[in-house]
Amino acid sequence: MPLVRIPTPLRPHSGGLDKVEVAGSTVQELFDQLGAAYPALRERLFDGAELRRFVNVYVNDEDIRYLDDLATPVAPTDEVSIIPAVAGG
C-alpha cells in the first residue's frame, strides 16, 4: 500500500505515527482514508474539500500541483509526503 509520511508537528494527530500505510489509488483517496482514521489530521490539512493554502503534498519527489492535484494517481509503492509550505526565501 502507498505510504504517507506525517510531519513532526502533525504526529499528535496521527497517534504519534511518522508514517501510515493507506489504501487508495489517488491522493484524494489516500487522504479520505487517512481522514477517516484520524479526523483531527484531516481538519488540519483541508479547508472544506480543498487542501489548505500552505500545505504542500508530494508523490515521491513531485509536487502534486505539477501533476493532477488531488486526483494524482498513486501506486502501491509510492510515498506521499506532507510538507509545510511556509519556508525559504
Binding site: P7, T8, P9, L10, R44, D47, R52, R53, F54, V55, N56, Y58, D61, D63, R65, Y66, I83, P84, A85, V86, A87, G88, G89
Partner: protein, 491 residues
C-alpha cells in the same frame, strides 16, 4: 506613548476586537528546549480568528490588542501569531501554525516599544540595523551581526535623468556588512535569536546570498553551519560560503527542492534553520530596510518602493516597517506608499499572479533566469506579496535576461553602483513601470538594490566588451583617444 484605545479610535474605527487571549507564561516551554526540535512546544490558547484586514495597520493592531492580560505586559516581544487564524504561540523555533499551516509572525507590545523608541533615541544610537532594536524580535541585545545595516540611501540624480523622473533613490544593500547583500539583516536577526534559543547548529536553504551570510555570521558567532544550495550557483556565491568554513551542500535540483529538503532536515535534526523554523524571527530583520529608508527621507514614507521578489517576504516587511513607524507616531504624514514587486520572466510566479488578477499563486516548476537569487518557483510569501501589491495600488512585472543586463549597466554607468542580476531585475522593472505610467514621474521612488555585482559575474563575461590592449606606447594611446573621444585628442 501609544494608547491602544486612541489608536483604535483614530486609525481603525471598525476594527473587530478579538477575545483576549494571551499566553500563559507558566505553560511556556523553556526556549532553550527548542534546540532539540519542536516537540517541546507548550499548549497555547486559541483566540478568535482574525478577519483578513485590507490594511496592514489594522492587522498589527489586532494582533497587538490580543496580547491579553498583564502577565505579558512587560514583554516587548510577546510571542508568535498565525497570520491566518490568529492562534497564539510562545516564542519558539516554529514557522507555521499547527492548525492551518499558516505562517507565524512575531507579536510586539507596541506600548512597551513606545516607552524607549523614538526619533531621538534612534538618532543617538550606533549606525547599524540594531538602532531599531525595539522593533526586532530579540529578548536581549544582539549577539550576531552587530555591524549589519545602515546602508546608504543614494539620491540618484543621474539615473533619475536617464529615466525621466524627478526624485529617485537607490537603497544600496550591495554594500551591506559583512557579505554584501540584504540577507545580512535577516541573518543577524535569526542567528541572534538562535543564540537566545541555545542552538549550536544552524543552517539555511539558499540561492546564494543567504548562504554567504549564514556562513559568515555563523563563523563569527562560533556556530556550526550547514548551508544547502542548488547545484550550479554562481562561483562567487559558492566560494563566499565555503571560505567561512560552513558545510556547503549543493543539491541536485532547483531551489524549491532544496527548500523542501531543509524543511525535513530542520525537523529531523532539530537545528536552527534561519528560513525554516526560525523564519518568523529571520523575516523581521528585513523591516530594517524600511526603517532606514524612512529615517533617511526625514521620517517619511516614499510614494513608491520597488522591491525584488524571490520568496516574496521582503516587500511585505518593508511596508510593515513603514506601518509600524506610523503606528508609533514617528512619521511625517501617512503611509501612502505603493509597493511594486520585480521578478524575472523566467521565474515570475508572483508577478504573473498580480498581472492575471489571480488569487492563487501558481508555482513555476523549472525557473530559468540569470537572476538566480530570485529563482524561487514556489514563493512562500507569494500570496501575501501579491495581496499587498494590490492593496497598496502598486504593480508587479517581470523582465528578460537582456533587460536585466542592460539595467545593471545603466545603474553602474549612471551611479557607480554595481549590482547583481537581481538588482538588474529591480531597475528594469522600475523602468517599465515608469513607462507604463504606473509610477508617476513626479513622485518619490526608492529602488531596493539587494545584492552586489561582484558575486554574479558570469552573465556579464560574455556580454561586456573586453578591455582594449595596447603596447606601452604614447602613439598607440593617442590613437585610441582619437577613436574614443576625439574632442579630448586635440589637447
Amino acid at each position: 506613548m501609544v494608547s491602544s484605545d486612541r489608536s483604535q479610535q483614530s486609525l481603525v474605527p471598525n476594527l473587530p476586537i478579538p477575545i483576549s487571549g494571551g499566553i500563559d507564561r507558566d505553560k511556556q516551554a523553556n526556549p532553550r528546549d527548542s534546540s532539540r526540535g519542536l516537540s517541546s512546544r507548550s499548549p497555547v490558547q486559541i483566540v478568535r480568528p482574525l478577519v483578513a484586514q485590507p490594511d496592514e495597520i489594522a492587522r498589527l493592531l489586532a494582533i497587538w490588542l490580543m496580547k491579553g492580560d498583564e502577565q505579558v505586559a512587560a514583554e516587548r516581544v510577546v510571542g508568535l501569531a498565525c497570520r491566518l487564524c490568529g492562534k497564539r504561540y510562545p516564542k519558539e523555533a516554529l514557522n507555521f501554525c499547527t492548525d492551518d499551516f499558516g505562517p507565524l509572525e512575531v507579536v510586539y507590545d507596541y506600548d512597551e516599544v513606545a516607552k524607549t523608541f523614538s526619533r531621538e533615541t534612534v538618532a543617538g544610537r550606533a549606525r547599524s540595523m540594531w538602532r531599531y532594536l525595539e522593533l526586532l524580535p530579540l529578548d536581549g541585545e544582539p549577539t550576531v551581526g552587530r555591524h549589519v545595516g545602515r546602508t546608504p540611501l543614494v539620491r540618484a540624480d543621474r539615473l533619475a535623468r536617464a529615466l525621466g523622473v524627478s526624485e529617485l533613490y537607490i537603497k544600496n544593500d550591495a554594500v551591506n556588512h559583512p557579505t554584501l547583500s540584504f540577507k545580512d539583516r535577516v541573518v543577524g536577526a535569526a542567528l541572534s535569536k538562535a543564540v537566545e534559543f541555545g542552538f549550536q547548529t544552524v543552517g539555511c536553504a539558499s540561492t546564494g546570498n543567504l548562504a554567504n551570510s549564514v556562513a559568515a555570521n555563523a563563523a563569527a558567532a562560533g556556530l556550526e553551519a550547514y548551508v544547502l544550495i542548488p547545484d550550479g550557483l554562481e562561483q562567487g556565491k559558492v566560494l563566499g560560503a565555503m571560505i567561512h568554513g560552513a558545510r556547503v551542500v549543493a543539491v541536485e535540483g532547483n531551489y524549491d527542492q532544496v527548500n523542501r529538503l531543509c524543511s525535513q532536515i530542520a525537523f529531523r535534526f532539530g537545528w536552527g534553520f534561519v528560513n525554516v523554523n526560525l523564519r518568523p524571527f529571520y523575516a523581521e530583520g528585513s523591516k530594517t530596510v524600511g526603517f532606514e529608508i524612512a529615517e533617511d527621507l526625514g521620517w517619511r514614507a516614499p510614494d513608491h518602493v520597488v522591491v525584488p521578489m524571490a520568496g516574496g517576504s521582503l516587500i511585505g516587511k518593508i511596508h510593515k516597517a513603514f506601518k509600524e513607524l506610523e503606528l508609533l507616531g514617528m512619521l511625517n504624514g501617512p503611509v501612502l506608499t505603493k509597493m511594486h514587486g520585480a521578478q524575472a520572466t523566467g521565474c515570475n510566479p508572483i508577478s504573473a499572479t498580480v498581472k492575471n488578477g489571480a488569487s492563487k499563486v501558481r508555482p513555476v516548476k523549472n525557473p530559468s533566469t540569470i537572476a538566480k537569487s530570485l529563482a524561487i518557483g514556489d514563493p512562500a510569501d507569494g500570496y501575501f506579496a501579491s495581496k499587498l501589491i494590490r492593496e497598496t495600488g502598486g504593480w508587479s512585472d517581470d523582465v528578460d535576461d537582456e533587460s536585466i543586463i542592460d539595467a545593471m549597466k545603466l545603474l553602474a554607468e549612471t551611479e557607480g553602483i554595481w549590482t547583481e542580476t537581481a538588482g538588474g531585475v529591480t531597475l528594469a522593472v522600475t523602468q517599465r513601470l515608469i513607462e507604463q505610467g504606473r509610477i508617476d514621474r513626479d513622485e518619490s521612488i526608492v529602488v531596493c538594490i539587494t545584492g552586489n555585482g561582484l558575486k554574479t559575474q558570469e552573465p556579464l563575461l560574455e556580454r561586456l566588451a573586453r578591455p582594449v590592449v595596447i603596447k606601452p606606447s604614447l602613439e598607440e594611446f593617442e590613437a585610441l583617444v582619437e577613436k574614443f573621444t576625439p574632442a579630448l585628442a586635440t589637447v
